[in-house]
């Protein structure tokens, strides 16, 4: 796979890489750093991509592996705003349900985050099992537990 083919495929799938970065890192800067690291690792790992599996499956594996393995220092997520907002009404109101759902996902451990990401990307249990390296039945059991956990987190 040459550079142009690689970049075309990455461009096609970069949305999911952004979501993985948002899930595994707290601050926008850390998310940007992880995104760059994932793209770099994907390119470096291209010689290992034999084309037997789908590009997306291979990409998920590398992206999730990078997100989990790359060390990040625990620091508070401090964001500097250009100006103090006048009032609560003047601030942008993100979709609260979506944000609440995402906050719940971020509270999962790294392994559960990986499994639920693959599930929400509409991969089959068999595909998830192959990407992660666990049995298909284990995937089913784990996902049921994760979904229950998310429901409980959303009720809080």
């Amino acid at each position: 796979m040459n550079e142009t083919e690689f970049l075309a495929l990455v461009n096609q799938h970069q949305g999911i890489i952004h979501k993985i970065c948002r899930l595994y890192r707290d601050s926008p800067q850390d998310q940007e750093d992880l995104f760059q690291e994932v793209i770099f690792k994907l390119w470096k790992s291209v010689p290992q991509f034999r084309g037997e599996a789908k590009f997306s499956s291979w990409m998920y594996r590398v992206a999730l592996s990078t997100a989990i393995a790359v060390y990040r220092k625990k620091k508070p997520d401090i964001r500097y705003m250009p100006a103090v907002p006048d009032s609560a009404e003047n601030q942008a109101q993100p979709d609260e349900n979506r944000e609440q759902f995402f906050r719940a996902l971020k509270q999962l451990n790294d392994a559960d985050k990986a499994l639920i990401t693959l599930y929400l990307e509409d991969l089959s249990y068999q595909e998830i099992a192959e990407i992660v390296g666990i049995s298909e039945s284990n995937v089913g059991v784990r996902l049921n537990r994760i979904k229950s956990k998310i429901q409980q987190l959303l009720k809080k």
Partner: protein, 180 residues
């Protein structure tokens, strides 16, 4: 939130889209922020240590010390440089493994190797430096206590470094076990 609602919320999340030019820059080794930092550190340290080697003979009486002490000093400098080179090579290596669990296990093995080399490299480097500076000293009680203090401070630093690596390795092991 039921399954469909979970899927729907996930699909509606903004994904982000970077232009091709930006993606192209990200795959270049000379644009990688961590590799750039390590390269800069390598260059600065190599220049600094080379300059040091030119002046240490006069400044630290290299000529009055035994040959082995001079060799040890050069070894100490080289160990630091080699450590940085090794870190650079490790940082740019690709991800191996047939699946996510295998990839993480491979990364854990890499981490352990680097930790071992980092800590043993520091120990050897410190030992070489100490041996150089103490090679022609005749020790009395105050000097012995001073040396003991230096060794103690170095040991504390090494213990802290080892602690950092043990924590990171433990975190990684815990995550891998979560996939069992």
């Amino acid at each position: 939130m039921e399954g469909d609602a979970l899927h729907s919320a996930w699909q509606q999340m903004p994904g982000g889209q970077k232009p091709n030019a930006e993606l192209r820059a990200m795959i270049k080794e000379n644009k990688h922020p961590v590799l750039k930092r390590v390269r800069k550190q390598l260059i600065i340290e190599t220049i600094a240590f080379t300059a040091f080697l030119f002046v240490y003979y006069d400044f630290f009486d290299g000529g009055r010390k035994p040959v082995y002490a001079n060799v040890l000093l050069v070894t100490a400098m080289l160990l630091v440089i080699l450590h940085n080179i090794f870190g650079y090579i490790m940082a740019k290596r690709s991800i191996y493994g047939e699946n996510l669990k295998q990839s993480l296990q491979h990364q854990l093995a890499k981490m352990k190797t680097y930790a071992l080399l980092s800590i043993s490299g520091r120990i050897l480097s410190a030992a070489c430096l100490l041996l150089f500076f103490t090679s022609v000293i005749t020790f009395n009680t105050p000097k012995s206590w001073f040396l003991a203090g230096v060794v103690a401070i170095t040991a504390v630093q090494l213990v802290l470094l080892a602690g950092v690596w043990v924590k990171r390795i433990r975190q990684m092991k815990t995550t891998i076990n979560l996939f069992e």
